[in-house]
Symmetry: C2
Subunit: 183 residues, 2 copies
Amino acid sequence: MAATLRLVDERGLEHVTVEDISEAADVSPRTFFNYFATKDDALLGGPLPHGPSMHDRLLAVPAGVPLVPAILQAMSADIAEIQGERDLWLTRLRVIKSNPSLLPLLVARGECAEEETVVAVAARTGLSTDDLFPQLAATLTGAAFRTAMMRWATTGDNLYDLVRETFEVLEKGLAPTHEEVTR
Amino acid sequence: MAATLRLVDERGLEHVTVEDISEAADVSPRTFFNYFATKDDALLGGPLPHGPSMHDRLLAVPAGVPLVPAILQAMSADIAEIQGERDLWLTRLRVIKSNPSLLPLLVARGECAEEETVVAVAARTGLSTDDLFPQLAATLTGAAFRTAMMRWATTGDNLYDLVRETFEVLEKGLAPTHEEVTR
DNA sequence: GTCAAAATTGCAGCGGCTGCAAACTTTTAC
DNA sequence: GTAAAAGTTTGCAGCCGCTGCAATTTTGAC
């Protein structure tokens, strides 16, 4: 993973072959594919954070807390983890920005989390997973989170604060002028 | 494109080769790649709707209209076009649902529209394209639109109404219980 | 040291994708 | 009608991503 990130960061995705990577990592190309299904996977596809599932974490938030802050709280562990691997993630996001074909991959990575979010939101609100609202809540929080991350990559602000800002917009509604957001 | 959609719908993405497609379409495989950069592109990568850009359309909406309804109005032409090619899109969405690896592609397709939306929202609100709000507005409306589309693919409801519902949530805020939405 | 389980590797091969140059088709000018 | 120009399709050779399989090497328990 480290070798892949470094090489792609230096030369660009197209100018790095799996052979280059495996040579840099001192393994055979075949071994590379024993660990990563795709060349791209070596950039983002590290093992997903384990810990308790989104579902459990969201239901663990006291019932009185409104939905959006509850989701934020449920995500805080992931946010902390990302901030803990700051340099790794900043490189990843830089690589993604300079190789736009990778962005969908970032989305895909968030997707499994989103599916869990659908179930969790449905459980918390008493709706069915087939209802529009849980699905919408999952995709919107996912999108807001991703936006916050991309912004974090360029501004370097505190990630948690950025996510909180985006979630506030989600909660309050997408209104044209938010003084506290525009800065 | 038609041949690709049909074959992939029948057999699944993995069990259709470019050779199969080009044979079905009565062209050489090489010709296939003269028109589509990728096998996947033949599923979603038709030429993007032309017409006036999102930017122009959004600025054409009277200044008094709040942001979210304005974006909805600016998108209505695209929505109508998608509904006009209902069968094509339903097949596409069915194919995407049964081949999840394609979903990122749908996102990518919407992405260029989102970039335009960033610029347009910035212009309309007087903010910079580097500010958080326009970026957030673009990704959130994009996500809401995609959710509406996926739902449209299964329920068959009117697409415009579905988008309107999701946009209402966006505008009013992501609150736990919306009677009119949960149904 | 022995042996079984696990990790690594080579190899052969498919399929996606590209550059190039040849063949073919259509358009245009006269 | 003809011939040059312009555009389209095609074959070919070849790189690279990726996979199944079987052989080899490494690891670790005893």
